[in-house]
């Protein structure tokens, strides 16, 4: 990274002249992308070097490395359209090379290729190319390339909200042990996003939390995004994330809207929820979490209902509607249906008296007189015992295949010692008695 800051046009030119023989085709192609102010310098360089060195045969790796440097330089200088052209040229060059040693550099190049197109908003154009490259990488058993390209493809689909196609690709693509931690984190994040949209919140939570944990500390933006989605998934599952999640270093400002949202869900106040959703609607739209927040409405109502059911032994449905702040045409009937569904789902413990129009909460009773504690203890004990068994099975004993057989002499000696010991103990016993 320190090198990246030092990249300037002159430095690059000098390096290109050193690495690739000037006047050769790769050199011309690359130099064309660099700014023209340095032309007089380049001419001077060509004059000297032609007299000095014979024609060099550059390694393909060196050429690809030069491509990479030029590309990074162009992106840092924000010359995105030139970066696009340069990266397309490099990808075309890569298709012809089939050397495993180029793989690592190639995967970096693919990443910047996708990035340059994304920054100019033309991601859809390269989808076909990325798919072809993925095919080639699979044929050549280029695992790092496969991983990188799969992630880039998923990113491409998710950029356009094509969750269906992303899932189809992900489920069919061959999976293997991750080679690169960063790629694995990205894969987990995309997987978590897809699962969230498909309403599989438990899987999504696992993936997103794992991605947030495995990510390197320097990747702050990535971790913020992971955490945002993880918070929403936890809210959708019905659990409230702890306060410490929002107070992580560097993320406080970014997570502020989500903190207020969690507050509204925790209290169960529909009005507050609506106002928070409106206040931060731009943030939520830019994070593409807007649709998920709309789904949270259901959770807010459930929490509010649960609070009411615990606090009141009997409450009229009209009051329930007022407390939940249901702002619909027929709040009482709505409240009745919602309460009925909540009772069926097991969220609250109550009955409805339709004739009088009120909700009667059941008595919680004495839990210890039921079998509940026994069942809870049983499951915990079973879990601990399983863990103990697994640990014992995993114990390894030192290999004792080198133990010598005792020779007859040693055995006699040992037996003599044992007899003396036994006599000694017997004498002691006699003494005591």
């Amino acid at each position: 990274m320190a090198l990246r800051r030092k990249l300037k046009a002159q430095v690059l030119c000098a390096f290109l002249n050193f690495a690739l023989s000037p006047g050769s085709e790769p050199h011309n192609r690359l130099a064309a992308h660099l700014p023209k102010e340095d032309e007089h310098e380049m001419e001077f360089d060509t004059a000297t070097s032609v007299s000095q060195s014979p024609v060099k045969h550059p390694l393909p790796e060196l050429e690809i490395y030069c491509y990479l440097l030029v590309l990074i330089y162009l992106i840092d200088q924000k010359k995105y359209s030139e970066a696009k052209a340069c990266s397309s040229a490099s990808v075309a060059r890569l298709k012809n090379l089939n050397r495993r040693t180029v793989d690592v550099l190639a995967s970096r190049l693919y990443f910047y290729y996708s990035l340059s197109y994304e920054l100019t908003g033309d991601l859809a154009e390269i989808r076909g190319n990325l798919l072809a490259l993925h095919r080639i990488a699979t044929l050549r058993h280029d695992e790092l390339g496969q991983e990188t390209l799969l992630n880039l493809l998923l990113r491409n689909y998710l950029h356009y909200n094509l969750y269906d196609q992303a899932e189809k690709l992900r489920s069919k693509a061959p999976r293997f042990e991750a080679h690169s931690n960063q790629q694995f984190c990205r894969y987990l994040f995309y997987l978590g996003k897809i699962r969230t949209i498909q309403l599989e919140y438990t899987d999504a939570k696992e993936s997103l939390l794992q991605a947030a944990r495995k990510a390197p500390v320097a990747a702050l933006g990535f971790r913020v995004q992971c955490n945002k989605w993880a918070i929403i998934v936890r809210l959708l599952l019905g659990e409230i994330p702890e306060r410490t999640v929002f107070m992580q270093k560097g993320m406080e400002n970014a997570l502020r809207p989500y903190f207020e949202l969690t507050n509204a869900v925790r209290i169960g106040d529909l009005e507050l929820f609506k106002s928070v959703a409106e206040k931060f609607s731009t943030t939520f739209s830019s994070d593409r979490t807007h649709n998920l927040i709309v789904r949270l409405r259901h959770n807010v109502i459930r929490t509010g209902l649960r609070n009411i059911s615990i606090s009141y032994s009997r409450i009229s449905l009209a009051d329930v509607a007022k407390k939940l702040r249901l702002d619909t045409a027929n709040p009482v009937a709505d409240a009745e249906s919602i309460v009925a569904k909540a009772i069926r789902d097991g969220a609250i413990d109550a009955t409805i008296d339709h004739a009088n129009g009120w909700m009667v909460s059941k008595e919680t009773g004495d839990i210890y007189s039921t079998n509940e504690p026994q069942i809870a203890f049983n499951s915990r004990i079973a879990f601990c015992l399983n863990m103990h068994n697994d640990a014992v099975r995993a114990l390894r004993f030192p290999p004792n295949s080198h133990k010598e057989k005792e020779s007859a002499e040693k055995r006699r000696e040992r037996q003599q010692q044992e007899q003396e010991l036994a006599k000694h103990i017997a004498e002691e016993d006699d003494d005591e008695f």
Partner: protein, 232 residues
Amino acid sequence: MDPKLAEVSQLFERFKAACAREDVDTCCNVLSKLKVLLTGFSSLPPLFEDTPNAIHELTLARDIYEHAVLLSVKIGDQDAFERDFFQLKPYYTDASSSRLPPSSQEYMILGLNLLRLLVQNRIAEFHTELELLSSTALENPCIKHAVELEQSFMEGAYNRVLSAKQTVPCKTYDYFMDLLAKTVRDEIAGCSEKAYGYLSVSDARQMLLFSSDNELLQYIKELLLPVLYESL
């Protein structure tokens, strides 16, 4: 004009006339013939070639598929709906961004599809489709209707679902709304079983939106039948 194009247009006019007459059999026959003829054009998906008549052909093909979708709703064939809708989708997403003017029935058909997914209880696909819609699409009444319906269904405000039957944006929605009403009734019955200790017949009739006591008793008999068989 291109002879192939002329032939397809003529056949399409006959198809529209048959639809207006509610002549389902002729419609189906003509539709199959139309689909075979459409394979002759190379400007359609998945090739998307740039022929001189491309825009005309694309618009015509899109109209044909839209009518096919509406026909499948009329017959009540959900599989045909799904097939025709999948063929129609590329016209909305890929072709529209480049060349075609937007269709007037686009939002209605998108709303119909969302409703169908809701009725078939494919909520995951419902949400995936929802993600693909832009914010302007979400403002459209047809789509808003489907979205609000899903929300009420998830929250459990089933009475809102049943009353939404009166406020459909267009008549074609009626078929799916009837199916939805059936599902909702089963849900309400299930919830009421757990929630109410005691419910009078007239109240039950009102909640389940039956028009007479006889219907209610019939419905109860159908519900209890499996329970009776189990106890035997």
